[in-house]
Symmetry: C2
Subunit: 435 residues, 2 copies
């Protein structure tokens, strides 16, 4: 009778309660900050028709899909990113939706790729997007939200940086130096720092660039200041793209985020649909994968068959973020805690259930939104075992339903945080909890 129990699928995770508490801390913080910026939450199905991804995103993503044919003969894929779903939602209600609007989602995503540090086959990703405006203040809003979020997680300015680049600027520069096929060039540029200078030069040669063009491009991508870029580019389009970046930085500066952003032309982003500002967020020293990344995609809805509706957004994955927070010791305790443990010397289970329900009901009518957590034994057992359970569950106060020192309407109770014994009514017990 030794049946082999099936294992957890490779590249996915089990979230036992201790792990799930950390996930919920991340999700709560994402949601709270997104809502404080007045982004509205949305969701979509976990899978889409395969066509929504094929040809629309970069090839890198398409080759990494979990795709299959369903029992109704439809070609289906588990969603590898949220933006195509977002674009579908926007196209479907293009006329009803009052633009601009700010939306966020925390989708679960799936990519069939080699599982490794910071990369899993199943992960969560905060997505925030602004649809319906070409204004650079949309980018400013997104970056202010990112910085606010990372600060809320406890990171200090200087421990992270939002690196900003511009596809528009890159496109202009590629045109200026006479590069033949920009669409072939972007994926190479995106891998520049990963593949090393030689492989980079070879890949660009394959994309049709001359040695001189490659040298210029490499120098351009190393520019560290607006002034350096200004000296390198000449066209009107380039200076418009630069002006945008200058205004973006000035706006973020005045909102208190000056130390959180910098120019980083080495950022390109792999996906084909970006058309303007692109950005990535890294920990100090870039020791990890990007914490977040995004950019402007003004022609995505058009490519998918809808009207042209401008958009800009980013994704922030849970895996790298949690690794970073763990490294900085910024994750909360994963331990269980309960407010009240209802115990009984005589195993009077009916009295136990009744009292537990009384405490739960009192919290549900409280105005300040308190939500008491109430536990108790689930079977008759000795008081010693009940106290063990209370301690194990992180109970703050043990309430005895049948302590003999208590009068009618009162209870004996023990504060496990300091070991003190008390006698009092329900109000006194709640007061002790909050003391």
């Amino acid at each position: 009778m030794s049946i082999q129990i099936p294992q957890l699928p490779k590249g996915t995770r089990d979230f036992y309660p201790e792990a799930e508490r950390i996930q919920n801390y991340i999700f709560d913080t994402w949601r709270k900050v997104a809502e404080s910026f007045a982004y509205e939450e949305y969701e979509g199905p976990m899978f889409e028709h395969l066509e929504l991804y094929t040809g629309k995103s970069g090839d890198e993503i398409v080759s990494q899909l979990y795709n299959f044919v369903d029992k109704g003969d439809r070609a289906i894929a588990l969603r590898p990113e949220m933006t195509p779903t977002l674009a579908r939602l926007v196209i479907q209600k293009a006329r009803e939706l009052k633009k601009p609007f700010k939306w966020f989602s925390m989708p679960r995503l799936f990519r069939y790729e080699k599982a490794q540090k910071g990369r899993l086959r199943e992960f969560f990703q905060l997505n925030m997007d602004i649809i319906g405006t070409e204004s650079i203040y949309a980018e400013a809003d997104l970056m202010a939200a990112i910085a606010t979020m990372l600060r809320k997680f406890g990171l200090k300015d200087g421990e992270f940086a939002i690196g900003v680049s511009s596809r528009k600027l890159l496109a202009t520069y590629l045109e200026e130096i006479g590069a033949p096929n920009p669409a072939l060039v972007y994926p190479v540029l995106d891998r520049r720092l990963k593949i090393g200078p030689e492989a980079f030069a070879k890949a660009l040669t394959d994309a049709g660039l001359s040695d001189e063009q490659i040298q210029k491009l490499d120098a351009f991508m190393s520019c560290k200041s607006i002034e350096e870029v200004k000296a390198a580019v000449k066209s009107e389009n380039a200076s418009a793209a630069l002006d945008e970046i200058v205004e973006l930085f000035a706006t973020l500066q005045s909102a208190g985020f000056g130390e959180c952003v910098n120019l980083d032309l080495s950022i390109v982003r792999g996906l084909a649909y970006y058309t303007g500002i692109v950005f990535e967020v890294f920990d100090k020293g870039k020791s990890m994968r990007a914490i977040a990344g995004g950019g402007r995609y003004d022609s995505l809805t058009e490519k998918l068959g809808g009207d042209r509706i401008p958009g800009v957004g980013f994704g922030m994955g849970d895996v790298v973020l949690a690794d970073l927070l763990r490294e900085h010791n910024l994750l909360p305790s994963p331990k269980q805690s309960v407010d009240f443990y209802i115990a009984s010397f005589t195993n009077d289970m009916k009295k136990v259930f009744e009292t537990a329900q009384m405490f739960r009901a009192s919290s549900s009518t409280a105005e300040n939104g308190t939500n008491f957590t109430v536990s108790h034994p689930l079977a008759p057992m000795k008081m010693g075992k009940q106290l063990d359970q209370a301690n194990y569950q992180g109970a703050k106060i043990v309430v005895y339903v049948d302590g003999d020192k208590a009068q009618a309407g009162e209870f004996e109770f023990k504060d496990l945080r300091d070991g003190t014994m008390h006698v009092g009514n329900a109000d006194a017990i709640v007061k002790q909890l909050n003391s």
Copy 2:
């Protein structure tokens, strides 16, 4: 250029912000009540190895899987229910986990079946389970949580009922009347009220029962009181099963849930793994599908190759619940609302961003957990359009960053709820919000 944009996959849903607000209301209420009963949240992967489902659950479920072979040649299935994942988690850490424990999860589930009212191919389901005790007080705890939850949603006692039956009792009765193969009988009994008396009798004949046995069984399943059942069954096992139900009802009665539960031997549940109490929750008059259903499964981990660890739990889907709440007019407003809209007569975007950030920061340091929602224009526009936007977003207060009646450190502001104009500092504005 008229590319056909891919449609939403059949049987799945898009959640635009208005729909997502309703979802979040349901999820929040589920989570709050589960936590108030000291259940700990867990999660698992969205798909499992196919073997986890084949042969372990009833056949009905297996034929309705979204299953496929992944790029690494693994047979995979999107999860159709959470219990097999839960059993896997429990088996994996059978020794470390301190029993009994109470867990909940709100998984997204997938079943390839005909989409119809109350039934979708992709849905959410609250799961609450107690692992590691055979005590009937575990059932009492789960049912108290269900009743508390439905009351919290605004339903009154009498508008729903938890119908309780017992597989143990049924098994004893089947033995008493000499039914040859109980495993063949349960799926038929589960469909009793759906298929009508003739088809029911025929299916039982096919399962090997005589006319007399069928008549007895039908009468037994119609018993409405403990007394009626007592008169029908004789064995010691039967009376032990009945005593359990009596204690369950008495405990719930003393905790204030007497009107929420009743005996209903017509409930059988389709899944093969139940071993004791089974229950289903219906709206008054059973006009809809079950709101929730569950039962005791003391040998599931054993069947999956682990040690025998008793368990009991239920699932409550989002679709039927939302239909029911909608019918009772109990769903909250789905409209957006924001606390502050920061406006500027001179389109001073830097001042707008700075002020918005000031209000967000003030809420993040507030002790009572307030989380101000702050919006503002994303591009220069006339004041009239800014006010339109503020109204459309449900803003409560518009703050003017450059109103000329305000002194240094003060703002002009308008309360859109009553149309009043004010002048004051940030504290005065927050006070007005809470007035």
